[in-house]
């Protein structure tokens, strides 16, 4: 069964550095998402992406964050000038569209020191 793959599985970075989290969505999916889960808290929506543009973003997704689909397969989340509170598990997801469920990757654990 096709899956969403995320790399790396764990990323450690120093405060103030930039990180790029990478995702390869399922190949025939059209909608892409990033969610995050701070340890012990709920999984939270960050952003949705369709047709090469952001469809919706949450209040968490401020100017520090950006997403890109640089080629036909990758979907990336960039976090500029990381802060301690950005430490979380970041999940990428994709779907075929409305009436189709989201399929999640295994996540990237980001640790900001």
């Amino acid at each position: 069964e096709p899956e969403v793959t995320q790399t790396p599985s764990h990323q450690v970075t120093q405060m103030g550095q930039e990180v790029i989290l990478r995702c390869v969505p399922i190949s025939n999916h059209l909608y892409f998402y990033w969610y995050r889960q701070i340890l012990g808290q709920k999984v939270e929506f960050l952003v949705s992406f369709y047709n090469n543009e952001i469809s919706e973003k949450s209040e968490i997704f401020d100017d520090q964050f950006s997403v890109e689909r640089p080629d036909g397969s990758n979907f990336t989340l960039k976090i500029r000038s990381t802060k301690l509170e950005d430490s979380a598990m970041y999940f990428c997801a994709s779907s075929e569209g409305i009436n189709s469920p989201l399929h999640f990757g295994n996540g990237t654990r980001l640790t900001v020191t």
Partner: protein, 116 residues
């Protein structure tokens, strides 16, 4: 705005016993409802979904859930739990956000422990 409540933080059941995990949602329109499971160190795996139609939905691994509009609930059930079902279970409600996408709002999760 939509919200999801999973009232049980942690449940322990014996292997072979039946299981029901509770989920209540708040959403103004007909919701899309989901249950996901997360094993330690793993991602979120879809167990089952409700979009419309039959209110009793079957999922993978022998799980089922029933959508009850009058109670705003979508409880997850399994008649006989296996040790491998130990994991964290998340209920989620989906709200359309235009252009065919929708935003999931998750509950805080219920951790299931299974004793032999």
């Amino acid at each position: 705005a939509q919200s999801v409540t999973q009232p049980d933080i942690h449940i322990t059941v014996s292997e072979g016993a039946s299981l029901e995990l509770r989920c209540n949602y708040s959403y103004g329109a007909t919701p899309y409802l989901f249950w996901y499971v997360q094993s330690p160190g793993q991602g979120l795996q879809l167990l089952l979904k409700y979009f419309s139609g039959d209110t009793l939905v079957q999922g993978i691994k022998g799980f089922e859930a029933e959508f009850k509009r009058s109670q705003s609930s979508f409880n997850l059930r399994k008649p006989s739990v296996h040790w491998s079902d130990a994991a964290e279970y998340f209920c989620a409600v989906g709200a359309e956000s235009g252009a065919g996408s929708y935003q999931l709002t998750f509950g805080k999760g219920t951790k299931l422990s299974v004793i032999p």
